[in-house]
């Protein structure tokens, strides 16, 4: 059980190598966003942009913002497991 928590933590900590740094190198854009821009939908504002818009924290470098948003996301999802523990 502790091992799965540790694995999840490691995944989040290394994730900016792929999700931010690697994405910058190849000039990543979400394919559906590219399609939207092509047909002029790009300007439409999202109804809700989230607390961490596109995995960023306002005013914080992208790499750190990505990790923070990842940790919060994982933390929220893990809450039931941590609070309740395993039944069997």
């Amino acid at each position: 059980m502790r091992r799965s928590y540790l694995l999840i933590l490691i995944l989040v900590l290394v994730s900016p190598i792929f999700g931010v740094i690697g994405a910058d190198i190849v000039g990543y854009h979400e394919p559906l966003d590219v399609a939207a821009e092509m047909i002029g939908l790009g300007e439409s504002e999202p109804v809700w942009s989230g607390i961490f818009p596109d995995y960023t924290v306002p005013g914080v470098p992208d790499v750190i913002g990505y990790v923070i948003s990842g940790l919060v996301g994982v933390g929220v999802l893990l809450l039931p497991a941590v609070l309740r523990g395993r039944r069997d």
Binding site: S15, A36, Y66, S69
Partner: protein, 201 residues
């Protein structure tokens, strides 16, 4: 694959909200009635969320990351898988704005319903036909179910006049693209399933 706000017609968005909520509610009933534990939903949802953060960049400005619906379905069963995937999509939508809040029903239909249930079904059929080869069965489940989810996504945006292209464009483009990208999904699913084993194995 996460559809943003503004792509779907209100009718498409609303219909898929209704369908997805019914399937999620029914899955919740079945999963907990059959003795399912929220612990596994929580750990799987968090684990797949973390794995999804590893966005593999692909030269040309795109990337591939695990969706994990088929994997959830094979490891937790279709009902638990649907719940874990829905938790994941809900957190992404509310916290990161990844997937529009008006498109949550559609995204849940594609990734928590089609990907999970079809992935589970393909795994079961492939296991029977291949005489229990877990890697192969997991590979086929991850690969084909994500392509089917992409086709569903193509149908939804193709049916919405807000998105300027007709079905004859959106369906083949989404389907073909994810048949290619889905190979990664298939390999990851096959690898994990061959190590851990599906539900009840």
């Amino acid at each position: 694959m996460h559809i943003p706000d503004g792509f779907l017609s209100p009718l498409v968005a609303l219909s898929l909200y209704v369908i997805s909520l019914i399937v999620v509610a029914y899955s919740g009933r079945r999963y907990f009635r059959e003795g399912g534990d929220i612990y596994y939903l929580s750990v799987m949802a968090a684990g797949i969320f973390a794995a999804q953060m590893l966005n593999w960049p692909i030269p040309g400005g795109t990337s591939a990351h695990l969706v994990g619906g088929a994997l959830d379905g094979v490891l937790l069963g279709p009902f638990g898988g649907c719940l874990a995937m829905f938790m994941n999509l809900l957190v992404r939508c509310i916290l990161m704005g990844d997937g529009g809040i008006t498109a949550l029903g559609a995204n849940a239909f594609n990734m928590a319903v089609v990907d999970v249930f079809l992935g589970y079904l393909i795994y079961k059929v492939a296991m029977r036909m291949s005489g229990g080869r877990k890697f192969l069965s997991g590979f086929l489940a991850g690969w084909l179910a994500i392509a089917a989810a992409a086709v569903a996504c193509g149908v939804e945006i193709g049916l919405s006049p807000q998105f300027g292209y007709p079905l004859s464009v959106t369906v083949p483009v989404m389907g073909a693209w994810h048949l290619a990208l889905g190979l990664v999904e298939g390999l990851a699913t096959g690898f994990i399933v061959s190590r851990v084993g599906g539900v009840g194995e």
